[in-house]
Symmetry: C3
Subunit: 302 residues, 3 copies
């Protein structure tokens, strides 16, 4: 059988202290020495399927062709067997638990073309413990895929439509505003929302330089209203000002130049952000200490 | 000379902030370009020989064939020269300080077949500082091993029995109980003890579903008694209940489903855990706030 | 075109949580599969050009031949285009922002022989965002360099002398003392100063075993005076005593055996340390709680 995949992209919530990702990499190294493992991240918060699935989906446009191994599995060893899912005419194979972790990434990669339950023990190592399935089952399966074993040989075929779906929050229109969710806060404090610039410009007559009203809600339930300028670069922002730009994944991110927008706005993943266009004669509060609820006359596009 | 090793597995307490592991990897890359370096972990606590040696021993069954480089060396630059130790008919070579760090892993790999003191400067780079021995001495030695230099050429042969032994705590029987030590707390809060399931079933008439009495001692010296069910999977555990299962390294680990057993039980590496079988009519305290000492009529096996 | 570089050494302030370094590594893997990426560190503090430039410069003597990619870019997407700088007859190429980050490393590597502004979009991916230049511009440029594309093809030639210089703090003589700056505190708390042992022995009649007066200033502006023995190894230090030795990068580092000199002395990167030789009859305070200012009769060398 010909070698089929040369690269394994690997994401997990294992951390890098315990050595768990390295044990998996070592098994792949022994069984498929030609394969290179690229660690996407192992710092997904423990058990955080949502965060892991979003990080994986963000990575899909950039990963090398080959196998994508992803493990965030709070129910380790229980329930459904793990799965392998082929995409892009076999150029990519996702391997991981069937708990929704892979679904948004698979969707981003096109769609699931073939899927199998990884239930053929012939392709596994001896399973030591319910906690060691990633090492004892997934690592050898990944190596066999790299070595050219066909997906169909690894277990029982399954209709991809029957796999556990992912949860991707969509923005919601309400009274001329757009209720968004924070998908991600990056290392620099930039706040990615679940909305693209196109979704704003489709709805409202806004563009670079426009102000958008940004409403957040604090822990006591009080709303805080800020304005954010739509900008093309950090350089367009005054010192300390909140802006919104297209981030590296094509989504709207709230940003502050050389500072953390997440800190400035008190936002974390999963948080609610209400966006609305800002009319010219509206004087929004720019102080987060002064909750303001304003009625805005929206200028709808077109 | 033929290439001899293709993979270097690398563990240290260097962290990943300073670049120190990468400098060593870079030197190996320059001297032995064919070799792949797999980072087991560099997050061993600074100077923690015990923790490092246990992490290394846990890794041994999973590392790829080749050189294992391990560095946790509080006495850097002082005392004994570092060593290289051959195992498994030369399929593996451990390289590191002679301070007990390597010993448990070597024992796990079988036994030391040959050992040398790394005292031949011909195979070293110029040593800049007492703090740079890992980079200036061990990195080039590892590369030479990968390139096929025989262990015996690297320095003075030494009887492996004269190397500093490791410290592996053994469980101790006392009054029908087993005094155990916490070896490790993993990222998910699972608490590995220095006892295997077989050591329990050899002593007591217990099996899956049995309850075991788990006694811990708090900072004030007060005992806390809990029961833990022996389970085969997390799924066998009620919400919040403490269980004990065979972990991925074949040892007993105390666990809580989707939560930290270490937090629940107030345990950290090195902590004392007293295990005993639980008789059916015993009503153990399950509250950590109510210290209870009970006399248990043990049903010894056989 | 022949392959030209086999290794990419990569430093950034991206952290390892978000996957950003892996996305760059993945693009290089796809475009130049033969190239190996070695992560120097991605834990440079966000936006810390100074810290990143010092870590990069410390790495230069140890990195493998090839491309060095470094990204710490607070002004991402604004201002000057990034640059590529050739050193050592083309054996090394630095790629990164033109903000001073690369300059000390380039100087350490010899000097800049050729430099280009990376302004030819033919060698870039589509740029998604001002925040994604490292991924969309630098990653493909690095891959093209590895594949043998000549530096000159990648953009407009620029006089290396016109690039933004780095800031390397130099020690300053004052009243017989030497005002030094903390360059770096490593994971073990060793405190690297911006002065080499030779700069001390050139000035003063000191050598191994000599005592040096070490004055630090606390947050309230009060001076604290300690003595530090010049030592060749940690083993030369009494328990808890502060010593100074040549570190792995050839600079003076303040150290404490198996403890943190940074904690003991209250020092952090950028901090001021005043060094002076200690005359034999001087009784320095060794308590950090007792600020002492003494007039020292210096014995100048020669």
């Amino acid at each position: 059988v010909a070698r089929r995949h040369d690269t394994v992209s690997f994401l997990s919530d294992f951390g890098t202290v315990d050595g768990a990702p390295a044990h998996i990499t070592s098994i792949i190294r022994d069984l498929a020495p030609h394969a290179r493992v690229i660690d996407l991240t192992h710092e997904v918060a423990p058990f955080d399927i949502r965060g892991g699935s979003l990080t994986l989906a963000r990575s899909v446009p950039h990963v090398a062709a080959g196998v994508i191994l992803a493990v965030v599995d709070p129910g380790a060893g229980a329930g459904r067997p793990p799965v392998a899912i082929e995409v892009a005419d076999g150029a990519g194979v996702f391997v991981g638990p069937d708990n929704g972790l892979l679904a948004p990434a698979v969707a981003m990669a096109g769609s699931a073309e073939r899927a199998v339950l990884l239930d053929d023990a012939e392709y596994h190592l001896a399973v030591v413990s319910p906690t060691s399935g990633a090492r004892d089952v997934l690592a050898p399966v990944v190596a066999h895929l790299c070595n050219g074993v066909d997906l169909g040989e690894l277990g029982t075929s399954v209709d991809p439509g029957l796999l556990v779906p992912g949860v991707v929050p969509l923005p919601r229109d309400e009274d001329g505003s757009l209720l968004c969710e924070v998908l991600w806060v990056d290392r620099f404090g930039n706040v990615q929302l679940n909305v693209s610039p196109e979704e704003l410009t489709d709805r409202w007559d806004v563009g670079t330089g426009s102000l958008v009203r940004v409403t957040t809600v604090d822990a006591l339930g009080n709303p805080h209203v800020r304005s954010a300028a739509l900008v093309d670069a950090f350089a367009g922002l005054a010192n300390g000002a909140v802006g919104m730009l297209r981030d590296g994944h094509g989504m709207c991110s709230l940003v502050v130049d050389r500072a953390s927008a997440a800190v400035e706005l008190g936002l974390a993943p999963g948080g609610l952000v209400v966006l609305a266009p800002l009319v010219d004669d509206e004087g929004p509060s720019t102080s987060p200490d002064t909750p303001v609820v304003t009625n805005v006359a929206l200028r709808r596009k077109g």
